[in-house]
C-alpha cells in the first residue's frame, strides 16, 4: 500500500458498544487529515488507537509500512496534542518542550538547539522559563504543539485542540496551525466535531458516524457532493427532497415530490425512471426574491411560490424559512448593497424561491434520522403580530 498510515479493518468495542466498526482508511505522508463527526462517533477512539492508548479488538494499523498495532505509546513516533494540552505543571515551558528529547537521551547541546528552535517557531522564546500556570490558553496550546513536534514525530495527532479556546483565539490558532503544518511537513491527524475547523485546515476529511466512515474526500467535495444524507446534514445546512424519477431529459431528470411541485435535477448517477431518490439542496443555492427569476438561456430553473415563515438576520446574510405546500425550505440570502429605504422581505410575504438544477445533489444513501439533523425553527411558529392596543380600563 502506498499510504503512509493505514487502518486495515480496525474494530474496537467497549462492552456492547462498537466504537469503531471495521474502519479501513489510508492517510498520505505530510497530509493534514481530519476525522470529523459528532461526539460518540468513534473519532477519538480511532485517534487513541493510533496513539497507542487503546488496542483494537481486530484489524491492524500500519505506519510507514510497519505494523504498529501492538506497540506501546512510548515506542511509536506518534505524538498527541491533548484536548486539555496536558502540559506538565511542575516543569517550565522549556522543560516541557525538552521532555521527549531528555527521555530519548539526546545530548545537552542538541536538546538546547532543538528546544530553542521550537520556541522560535511558536514565538515564545520570551516565556521559556514560565510555568504552565503563568501562560494563557493560546500560549499553552502553542507549547503543547512545540512539545509534540520537537523530536520530529512521524505523525502528530490533535484531539480537538481548539475546543477550549474562545472564538477569536480559535481563529488565530487555526491560521497558526496551518502555518506550522506547512513549515514542519509532518503528517497531521486532526480530530474535531467542528466542521469549520476541519474544512479550513484539511487536505482531506473523513466524516465519521456511529463507528464507520461515511465519506472520505477533500473538503469541497464533502460539502458540494455529499455521499449520504448524514454528511449533507452534518456538514453545513441543507434541504432534503424525496422523490420518484418520472422522466429523463438529457442530463437532467425530473423528480415527482410528494406534496410539492416537480423538481428538475442534474442526473450524475445515471438513474433510470421510476427509482426513488433523495436530493440535497444547500440553502445558499436557493434564491429568495419578490419578483420571478429572469429567464435563463438554454436551461430551466426550479421555481416555487412560497410564503416566508421565519427570518434570522445574521449580518453577512439573512436566513429564510419558507413554506411551499407541506415543505419547509431554508434559504440564505447574502447581503450585498444595503439600502435603507429598500423594503425588506418580511414575515408572511409571498416570495419566489428558485435554484438551478445543477445545484441539487442526489444522495447515494439516506436514512430518516438524517433529516432530523437539519435545524428548523419549531413548527407552527408564526410571525410576530403587530402589537394591538389594549384598552386601558
Amino acid at each position: 500500500m502506498s499510504d503512509f498510515l493505514v487502518f486495515d479493518s480496525v474494530t474496537k468495542r467497549f462492552g456492547a458498544l462498537t466504537a469503531v466498526d471495521a474502519v479501513t482508511l489510508g492517510i498520505r505522508k505530510g497530509e493534514f487529515f481530519s476525522l470529523l463527526g459528532p461526539s460518540g462517533c468513534g473519532k477519538t477512539t480511532l485517534l487513541r488507537m493510533l496513539g497507542g492508548f487503546e488496542t483494537p479488538d481486530s484489524g491492524r494499523i500500519y505506519l510507514d509500512g510497519r505494523d504498529i498495532t501492538d506497540l506501546p505509546p512510548n515506542l511509536r513516533r506518534v505524538h498527541t496534542i491533548f484536548q486539555n494540552y496536558a502540559l506538565f505543571p511542575n516543569m517550565t515551558v522549556w522543560d516541557n518542550i525538552a521532555f521527549s528529547l531528555r527521555v530519548a537521551r539526546y545530548s545537552k547541546s542538541e536538546i538546547r538547539k532543538n528546544v530553542d528552535g521550537m520556541l522560535e517557531l511558536i514565538k515564545m522564546a520570551d516565556h521559556a522559563y514560565k510555568y504552565p500556570s503563568q501562560i494563557s490558553g493560546g500560549q499553552k496550546q502553542r507549547v503543547a504543539i512545540a512539545r509534540a513536534l520537537v523530536d520530529r514525530p512521524q505523525v502528530l495527532l490533535l484531539d480537538e485542540p481548539l475546543a477550549a479556546l474562545d472564538l477569536k483565539l480559535r481563529q488565530h490558532m487555526l491560521l497558526e496551525l496551518d502555518i506550522i503544518h506547512d513549515q514542519v511537513g509532518i503528517t497531521f491527524v486532526y480530530v474535531t466535531h467542528d466542521q469549520g475547523e476541519a474544512m479550513s485546515l484539511s487536505d482531506r476529511i473523513a466524516v465519521m458516524n456511529q463507528g464507520h466512515i461515511e465519506q472520505l474526500d477533500p473538503p469541497a467535495k464533502i460539502y458540494e457532493a455529499p455521499r449520504s444524507g448524514f454528511v449533507a446534514a452534518f456538514i453545513g445546512d441543507t434541504n432534503f427532497f424525496e422523490g420518484t424519477v418520472t422522466g429523463i431529459e438529457g442530463d437532467y431528470c425530473k423528480l415527482a415530490v410528494k406534496d410539492f411541485a416537480d423538481i428538475l435535477c442534474f442526473n450524475d448517477k445515471s438513474i433510470s425512471a421510476g427509482s426513488q431518490v433523495h436530493l440535497s439542496v444547500r440553502p445558499e443555492k436557493i434564491r429568495v426574491t419578490t419578483t420571478p427569476p429572469p429567464p435563463e438561456k438554454g436551461s430551466r430553473i426550479n421555481v416555487f411560490r412560497c410564503k416566508v415563515t421565519d427570518i434570522v438576520y445574521q449580518g453577512t446574510y439573512t436566513k429564510f424559512w419558507v413554506l411551499s405546500g407541506a415543505h419547509r425550505i431554508a434559504a440564505i440570502k447574502p447581503h450585498s448593497r444595503f439600502l435603507l429605504g429598500q423594503a425588506a422581505i418580511t414575515w408572511g410575504d409571498e416570495v419566489y424561491c428558485w435554484w438551478h438544477p445543477d445545484d441539487g445533489y442526489m444522495l447515494e444513501q439516506f436514512t430518516a434520522e438524517d433529516a432530523n439533523l437539519v435545524q428548523m425553527p419549531p413548527v407552527g411558529y408564526s410571525a410576530p403580530k403587530p402589537p394591538t392596543a389594549t384598552p386601558v380600563a
Partner: protein
C-alpha cells in the same frame, strides 16, 4: 477602617483555638521542659531546686544510641510506608468511583480492631512457634534458631503495618485530584511507565507525600506500644524509656528531659517541611502575580 475591622474579626475567630492550644499544649510543654531542670525527689516527686544533673546524666552513651535508633526506625518506617502507599494510592485513584470508596473503606477497616490487639496479634505471628516462623522454615528462608521477635526488625515491620493507612490516605487524596492525562502525555512523548510515574506522578502529588511523611514520622517517633510488645531489651526506643522513667522509676525530671528531646526530634522535621511549603507558596504567589502583571501590560496573547 474596613482593613482594621477584618483584622479584628480574624483575631476573634482564632482566639478560641489559640486559647485552647496555649492552655493545653504550649504551657504543658514548657512545664515539661522546666521539670527537666529540677532534681528528682526520692518519693517520685519533683525537687524544689534547679539543676542540670538530669541533662548531664543523658550524656551516658545509652541515650544517644536510643535516640539514634528511634530516629532511624522512624525514618525507615516512614520511607517504607510511603514507598508502599504510592503504588497503592495510584491503583485506587485509577479505579472506578464506586470501587474507590470500597477500597478506602477497606484501608480504614483495621481501625475497627484495637491497636494494641493488632500489635499483639503480630507477637503470635512472629513468635518462635508462630505461623511466620514455620512458614519461613519450611521455605528454607530461616534458620531454626533465628529470632523474628524482640528486635528492631520486628519493630520496623509492625510499625510499617500499623502506620500504612496514615500514609495511603493523604497520598490517595492527592492522587485522586491528579490529572492522569499527564501520564498519557508523558508516555506519548516516549517515557516508559515507571519514568512517567517518577517524573510526573510523584511531583504532581508531592503535597500528599509530605503529609504522609509527617503523619507517619511524628507518631512513630513517639511510638511505645509497638517496641514494648515486639521489641527486645536491645531495641528500646525513646518512648519506652519515657514510660520506664515515668512509671516504674518515678523519675519525672528524667522522663521530661527525654520528652523534650523527643519533641525536638519531631519539631525539627516539621519546621523544615513548614519552611519548604511556605517557600513554595510564596514562589507560586510570585509567579501568579508576575503573570497577572504581564497580562495587565498586554504582553500575553
Amino acid at each position: 477602617m474596613p482593613m482594621r475591622n477584618r483584622r479584628w474579626t480574624e483575631w476573634a475567630l482564632s482566639a478560641p483555638s489559640v486559647f485552647w492550644l496555649t492552655i493545653f499544649f504550649v504551657i504543658p510543654t514548657l512545664l515539661v521542659v522546666a521539670i527537666s531542670f529540677h532534681s528528682a525527689s526520692p518519693d517520685g516527686g519533683i525537687g524544689k531546686e534547679w539543676t542540670l544533673q538530669t541533662w548531664r546524666h543523658l550524656s551516658n552513651p545509652n541515650y544517644p544510641a536510643i535516640v539514634w535508633r528511634t530516629l532511624w526506625i522512624s525514618a525507615a518506617t516512614t520511607a517504607g510506608c510511603v514507598v508502599l502507599a504510592l503504588p497503592c494510592a495510584f491503583a485506587i485513584a485509577r479505579m472506578q468511583k464506586k470501587w474507590r470508596a470500597v477500597m478506602a473503606g477497606l484501608i480504614m477497616l483495621p481501625f475497627w480492631t484495637s491497636f494494641v490487639v493488632r500489635v499483639f496479634a503480630w507477637r503470635l505471628l512472629l513468635h518462635p512457634e508462630g505461623f511466620l516462623k514455620h512458614l519461613l522454615l519450611s521455605l528454607n528462608l530461616a534458620e531454626p534458631d533465628s529470632q523474628l521477635l524482640y528486635n528492631s526488625g520486628a519493630i520496623l515491620l509492625v510499625s510499617i503495618y500499623s502506620f500504612l493507612p496514615f500514609a495511603i490516605m493523604p497520598i490517595y487524596a492527592a492522587a485522586e485530584k491528579f490529572d492522569f492525562s499527564l501520564l498519557e502525555a508523558a508516555r506519548d512523548l516516549g517515557a516508559k511507565s515507571f519514568l512517567a510515574f517518577r517524573k510526573i506522578f510523584i511531583p504532581g502529588i508531592r503535597r500528599g507525600v509530605i503529609s504522609a511523611t509527617l503523619m507517619v514520622f511524628i507518631p512513630s517517633v513517639g511510638s511505645y506500644v509497638i517496641p514494648d510488645l515486639v521489641g527486645g531489651k536491645n531495641s528500646e526506643l525513646i518512648g519506652n524509656k519515657i514510660y520506664q522513667r515515668t512509671f516504674p522509676d518515678r523519675n519525672l525530671p528524667h522522663a521530661s528531659a527525654l520528652s523534650a528531646i523527643m519533641a525536638i526530634g519531631v519539631l525539627l522535621p516539621l519546621g523544615a517541611v513548614a519552611l519548604f511549603l511556605k517557600r513554595q507558596d510564596r514562589n507560586e504567589a510570585l509567579r501568579i502575580a508576575e503573570s497577572n502583571g504581564v497580562k495587565q501590560r498586554g504582553g500575553a496573547v
